[in-house]
Symmetry: C2
Subunit: 388 residues, 2 copies
């Protein structure tokens, strides 16, 4: 790679809506509210007409050409609007494509909105589609597939249910503090272990809920960022990768994450131990644990140590999922990656309120994995953000 986003792309605004069961809000209303929150977050103000292009991340929109719904919701007509879809990495990949256009110098300012209505019919559609597609249509649901990851991981590394449960306990503890989270309650290891099984060994609190939501980020050319804020957040690195188990065969890691992380670290010139705070794709508790290892935060089989030592807790050295992660905040697919970026933008600027981490973070990492034919984790997207 000859080039990077460093010194080229900055985030100047970010906002989201409270995630939850939002039957009362339309797809367009959710977009509109997230957009207005992002617009209002720009410190020195931004006029809508300064936005030159937009990207929409959504997996299951109410129609094709869903870009026009973004135009209706925001009033941003006449400009380019592109919809990106990439399974659970949909929102982060939409962000990524906007960064390309800004880094190319084609636009000064672009908007990214991620949105999903899961409760109306999205989740059912996605689940049916997954059952149809995974492992050749053999009826493996998502909890079942990630349950296989968990049993394989527990067996290979002699890790217990209690240790995996620490992910859920930590994330629900954070989510209880995060104003935008779908679920805002704490739970104990005992609660996690006593909850009904969804697919062994994963119980109810090991699984993210079915959630509606929207989030928006505004990016601009780094050299004009100070016109809009004294504290821009720069995009240092980005990676995206696709993989299949036909080539891997080991359920104890997600190679797509490893490839995407390598790309992002290389572009940023950053090592895993330099990451101060991260939002990681914890669609299931086991996913966060495995992702510690794929992202280079722990050696294979040693991810649980970070939890047992508490290093990844909100107030500690390497806080992970201060927002409560997907487990507590929810996972409205197209919105998920963008919401992670919203929260990390606030963390780096010291504006994360009740979930503000205590280690004065300068570098943050955002991570998604997504599911496709023949593989959980068949796609992964990683971004690295920094203050300078």
């Amino acid at each position: 790679m000859k080039n990077s986003f460093r010194n080229k792309v900055a985030i100047i605004g970010a906002g989201m809506i409270k995630f939850g069961e939002l039957f009362e809000k339309s797809f367009e209303t959710m977009i509109e509210e997230a957009y207005l929150n992002a617009l209002q977050s720009v410190d020195k103000g931004l006029a809508p007409q300064e936005i030159q292009a937009a990207w929409l991340g959504t997996l299951y929109p109410p129609q094709g050409n869903s870009g026009v719904l973004l135009a209706h919701a925001t009033g941003l007509f006449e400009i380019p609007i592109t919809r990106v879809e990439n399974a659970c990495a949909t929102g982060s990949d939409a962000f990524r494509n906007a960064c390309f256009a800004i880094a190319a110098g084609i636009y000064d300012i672009a908007l990214i909105v991620g949105v999903e209505k899961m409760r109306d019919d999205g989740a059912g559609h996605i689940q049916r589609s997954a059952v149809k597609q995974l492992w050749g249509g053999r009826g493996v649901t998502m909890p079942a597939f990630f349950g296989l990851h968990a049993t394989a991981y527990m067996r290979k590394y002699d890790v217990t249910r209690d240790e995996i449960a620490l992910v859920s306990v930590k994330n629900h503890r954070n989510g209880a503090l995060y104003p935008y989270a779908h679920y805002r309650f704490e739970c104990s290891v005992e609660d996690v272990l006593k909850a009904p099984y969804i697919s062994y060994p994963l119980g109810l609190y090991d699984c993210c809920p079915v959630t509606d939501g929207a989030a928006a980020v505004i990016v601009c050319r780094a050299d004009v960022a100070h016109k809009y804020t004294e504290k821009p957040v720069y995009v240092l690195g980005s990676g995206l990768a696709t993989e299949t188990f036909f080539r891997c065969g080991d359920l104890t890691n997600f190679p797509a994450t490893q490839y995407a992380a390598r790309q992002a670290y290389e572009m940023a010139g950053i090592q895993p131990d330099q990451i101060d705070v991260a939002e990681i794709h914890d669609c299931f508790s086991i996913t966060e644990l495995i992702s510690y290892e794929d992202l280079g935060f722990a050696k294979p089989g040693e991810g649980a140590q970070l939890l047992k030592e508490g290093l990844v807790d909100l107030e500690r050295e390497k806080p992970i999922n201060p927002s409560g992660g997907l487990l507590a905040k929810g996972h409205p697919i197209g919105a998920t990656g963008v919401a992670q970026l919203v929260e990390l933008f606030e963390q780096l600027r010291g504006q994360a309120g009740p979930v503000q981490v205590k280690n004065n973070p300068a570098i943050a990492l955002q991570h998604n994995i997504g599911i496709g034919r023949t593989a959980t984790g068949s796609v992964s997207c990683v971004h690295i953000l920094g203050l300078g």
Copy 2:
């Protein structure tokens, strides 16, 4: 806009499969064949492992995370693959996003594949979705909507059915020569007028068929293009715009095309009269006629003159749709824009065989419009290609 694709992005390879009713080919097979044809078209050869990223354009894929299907079809694992959807501009917008990444210098070489299976279930799904969405679900089908455009245009400009039919006659004449076209037969004005009505005033030959297909393009950084071919085709301009009739109200033009064309002309530093050959989105005969005017090839109401004078014929001064256009070649949605680029790549290089235009073209234009809530032509994408 501070920057452009000029001197930054070049097409070095392009290929497609014969469009038609391809029940016997899977989604992945269609991708694979188009990809291999594009790969083999690179004059000095290109190794698959030189491709650093890929974009997939498809409106109605068999699954979410359809990017992994591209990986399976091509063997291009580990690299970034992004799916873009933008209604009938899906393929051209996928191309556009790849160009951003190349222009930003992030990748040297990228693949774009557009694909659609319309016959299996895509067309039915799209049609149901359109009926549900257009004009608030009042059951307006696509031919009905474009029929309204035709009657409004005929009434405002005193244009006749015979004159509109000249689009179909020209495009079927070209399509009969084009090896990749779905329909390869000529038809007369009388044939067009005598054909069964689909939605007045549009008859069978005024409507594009329901077609399966795939097409692929390989782009690279302009400064390394000569490593792969002595005759790269450069991307000079690109535009994309979204609009709605709630703001326009006149059915005799497609404002999104006007905005997208303005963006593309500005980026390229080109005027409409400098375009030597164009592939225009003739989903219906009337659409091509109106697009002449929106693209600046004719004044409002005067588009039919180009047809009556024959200026847009294959062997004349400003050939339009030498491939037969969507009317003869077919309109497999995700593939359509990419296939237009494939054909223009060959035209500019003098390799278009039986449909080679005779005016030694140096500059070409590609155009799509797409349909969304409240508007036909609610999205438009325009690209301008050139030899230097």
